[in-house]
Structures are given as C-alpha cells and as structure tokens.
C-alpha cells in the first residue's frame, strides 16, 4: 500500500522543518525551495505525520 502526499504550495514558506522528519519525502533544492515525493510506501506514514505536525504553515496533507 502507498500513501499520497500533497503540499499546498500557496501556503508553503519553505521552512524545511518537514525535511528533518521525513528526509526521504521532503527536501530543499539548491534555491531553498521545497520539493517532495508525492507517493510513498505506507511505512513512511509515521514520518509524514510527524512532518505534518511540525509544518509551521500546516501545508502538508495526506490525500485519502
């Protein structure tokens, strides 16, 4: 099973807090902008939920 991840890029301010919680999903590129993998294995769920919790802009969502 996989989970689908969505970041509302109109909210995201590229603070990068998610990167520490789910480094295989979220990263900042060379321009300090957020990039992410939109689909991941279920085993990433706990990390992604932790990333959701620490996002200052509350811009990360798991799509049902």
């Amino acid at each position: 099973m996989t989970i689908k991840i969505e970041v509302d890029m109109t909210k995201c301010q590229h603070y990068g807090q998610c990167v520490f919680e789910a480094p295989d999903i979220f990263r900042l590129n060379a321009d300090d902008k957020l990039e992410y993998t939109a689909e991941a294995d279920d085993s990433e769920l706990a990390n992604v939920e932790a990333a959701i919790d620490v996002c200052p802009m509350q811009a990360i969502f798991i799509v049902k």
Binding site: Y15, G16, Q17, F20, D32, V54, P56
Partner: protein
C-alpha cells in the same frame, strides 16, 4: 471503570498529547477540557493570514486524526480548580472530574495594559481566533493603529496592519524591535525594514494612560506626548494560566516546574507521578543548554513535550529529553527561521550573507553556539541545526 487521562487545555498541546498517547499505545479513555469553544487550531496565522483575510476556523483548525476520534472533548468549559491529592479537577459548570493522569496544557493569556480607563472599546490583544477576528474588523485602510510591544507578535501585527493600509506606530520600552532574542544588530535591521514599509517606531517608551470616552482615541506616553489612534493592539507579553492549580503542592512561580519527563514538581522537589505539564506553561531544564528550568514559548514545544509525556507514560523513553527549540516569523517578505535559545548568547555575529539582504547570525555563549537565526538562507540555517543535537 478506568479513570481517564484528563488533559486541561484544548489547544495544540492538548491535541498533540492526545494524539501522542494513542501513537504510543495508550488505548484508555482521554478527556480534553478547554475554555475556548473552538476545536484546536493553529495560532501563528492569527497575527498574519487571519488578520489579512476572511479566514475561518476551518482554515486554521488542526486536522482530526482517526486515532483520536474517541477522545472526549469538553469545549467552552474552563477548569477552575484541581485537587491533586485526590486526583480531581473541577470545571466552571461545577462538575468534578476524576483522573488517573493529569496533563496540564493551559498555556498563556495576554498581559493587558493596566490603566484607569480600561473599559474603552478598540483595545485588542491577539491570542485566540476570536481575538484575531475581532481585530480584523478594525484594521481598515487608513485606520491609525498603535501596536504596544515590539516582540514577534507586535511586529507581525504591525506588518500585517501596514499591508492592509493602516497607519501603524509601534510603541515599546526596548531600544529596537525583538532585540531579545535577536540581538541588537539584527533588531536594528528589522526596524529599518519595517520603517522602509512605513511603520513608525517610538522606542524606549511606555504608555501611562489612554485617551477616549467610549472608544480608544489615543495613548498617553510616559513623556506626556499623546499619539492619536483608532485601534490599540496590546502585545506586551503573557501570563501563565496556573491559577486553577493553586492550593496544591506545586512549584508555580512562572509556569509549572517539571522534571525532565515533564512531571510536575512539588515544592519539596519530588515529582508528582501522574501529573504532567506541557507546552508554553511548562518550565523545564533542557540538557542541550544547562540545568536551568525555563519556559519556552516556541511553536514546536507543545508537540515535543506532548510526545515526551506519551513516551514516559508508555515507558518508552530513550535518553534525556532535549528538544531543539525552533521558531519562525513572517513579516512582509522577511522570513526568519531560528534554532536554539538565542537569548542565552553573550556574543552574536554574522556567519553568512549580507545583513541588508539574506543573512545568518550565530549566537554564542562562552564560545559555544546556543542559537542560529537567518533571514532567508534556509539551507544554511538548517545546516547549523545539528550543532544543537545532544552529543
């Protein structure tokens, strides 16, 4: 019947505690009692997005997770007292609730100006969603706004009000905005950027009285000068919500003193086995820095302390609790990101970039880094974060 875990305070800390208890395996009853009518929501947008646009509770509410679907939320209800010896709390309806474990998450409320004619309308503070919605109605283009206090909330409200076309004056006792914890050099630069946007600063000044009959019409400064205004925003700090805990054997000077497991500490120094405090209201020592207990009003602390409580509750702690404090602030296009406890520093220096553009400052105590703060330059700031990990 099993006595529930009762969490007093239904904001982010209360929510995160309930979620973390479930995540670490507690399947028993949880009751969360909170004074606000709203389900838990995110406060940082209150000084920004919620003031700038018609943002509803839905837009700032934290998503509800399935794991906490069976949590008993008692909202719009204030807990008035606690009896830790007998394991009960009593609410504003007069109802007494017995707990097996108590988690204190009652946070802060804003300090208000103490003046003789305090009943004037047009006075605001920004702590709750209802506060922000109330202020939003008054931030009309051309409105004269005095912001009292030049900390993070004061500066964010000033920036938002200015963007909405208000005439904004910040009045504060310090020399520059957010001097603590940013340091003088960065604080001066922040002031310069605000002034370039048209915000006025009247620093090293306090307000002694208000002018007005029914609505606030101005503030009287300690110099005797009067600044006329239509709106007054008071962002002058906070009080800890601990009055309901008085009469118990707790150390309550400046929040609830806890041990490293977030257990509330008795005046004897011994910890209550089943009483915890989390978030803004908890005062605890962080071994990343030293053994002095401090309250840390950063957004990550409710989440981190809630997780620690759940781990302790489940007997799943690994090593000491040493959360890395982090904060951010958005003012116009200035995006500040910081890690550590900047206020501990005895030395602050520019470590990257250019102060008039994007820059990173390092904060040092006796030569050891205790904080890092950047305007922009995220990757550089994040690179310093590992300096604060417990070695």
């Amino acid at each position: 019947m099993t006595k529930p875990v009762i969490i007093v305070g239904a904001s982010m800390g209360g929510l995160r505690a309930a979620e973390a208890l479930r995540r670490f395996g507690y399947a028993g009853p949880i009751t969360v009692i909170g004074e606000e009518h709203h389900a838990p929501y995110n406060r940082p947008p209150l000084s920004k997005e919620v003031l700038a646009a018609e943002v509803s509770h839905e837009a700032v509410a934290f998503p509800q997770r399935e794991s906490t679907a069976d949590v008993n939320w008692v909202l719009g209800t204030r807990v008035e007292s606690a009896d830790l010896e007998h394991g009960t709390v009593t609410d504003s309806e007069g109802e007494t609730h017995a707990y097996g474990t108590l988690i204190i998450a009652t946070g802060l409320r804003p300090k208000r100006l103490e003046v003789q004619n305090a009943e004037l309308i047009g006075r605001h503070a920004v702590r709750t969603l209802d506060d922000a919605i109330g202020l939003r109605k008054d931030l009309k283009p051309g409105a004269r706004v005095v912001v009292l206090g030049a900390g993070f909330i004061g500066c964010e409200v000033a920036a938002t009000a200015r963007k909405l076309g208000c005439e904004v004056t910040v009045v504060a006792p310090g020399s520059h905005p957010i001097t603590r914890p940013l340091g003088v050099e960065l604080a001066k630069e922040l002031q310069r950027r605000h002034e370039a946007m048209g915000v006025k600063f009247v620093m090293k000044t306090s307000v002694t009285d208000l002018v007005g009959t029914t609505a606030v019409e101005g503030v009287v400064l300690d110099s005797g000068e009067i600044i006329l205004c239509d709106v007054l925003v008071e962002a002058i700090g906070s009080h800890t919500n601990t009055e309901w805990l008085e009469g118990n054997d707790l150390e309550l000077s400046n929040g609830v003193l806890t041990d490293n497991d977030m257990r509330a500490v008795k005046t004897s120094g011994e910890a209550w086995p089943n009483v915890f405090a989390i978030g803004d209201v908890a005062r605890f020592a962080n071994p990343l820095f030293d053994d002095e207990a401090r309250r840390v009003e950063h957004w990550n602390i409710p989440t981190d302390t809630a997780k620690r409580v759940a781990q302790v509750f489940a007997g799943q702690t690994q090593g000491p609790f040493a959360p890395i404090p982090s904060f951010w602030s958005d003012q116009y296009d200035i995006h500040i990101l910081a890690y550590g406890l900047l206020a501990l520093a005895d030395e602050v220096k520019l470590v990257a970039g250019d102060i008039q553009g994007e820059c990173v400052f390092g904060y040092y105590r006796e030569g050891k880094m205790v904080g890092v703060c950047g305007i922009g330059m995220r990757t550089t700031v994040m690179g310093y974060r590992k300096e604060f990990e417990l070695k």
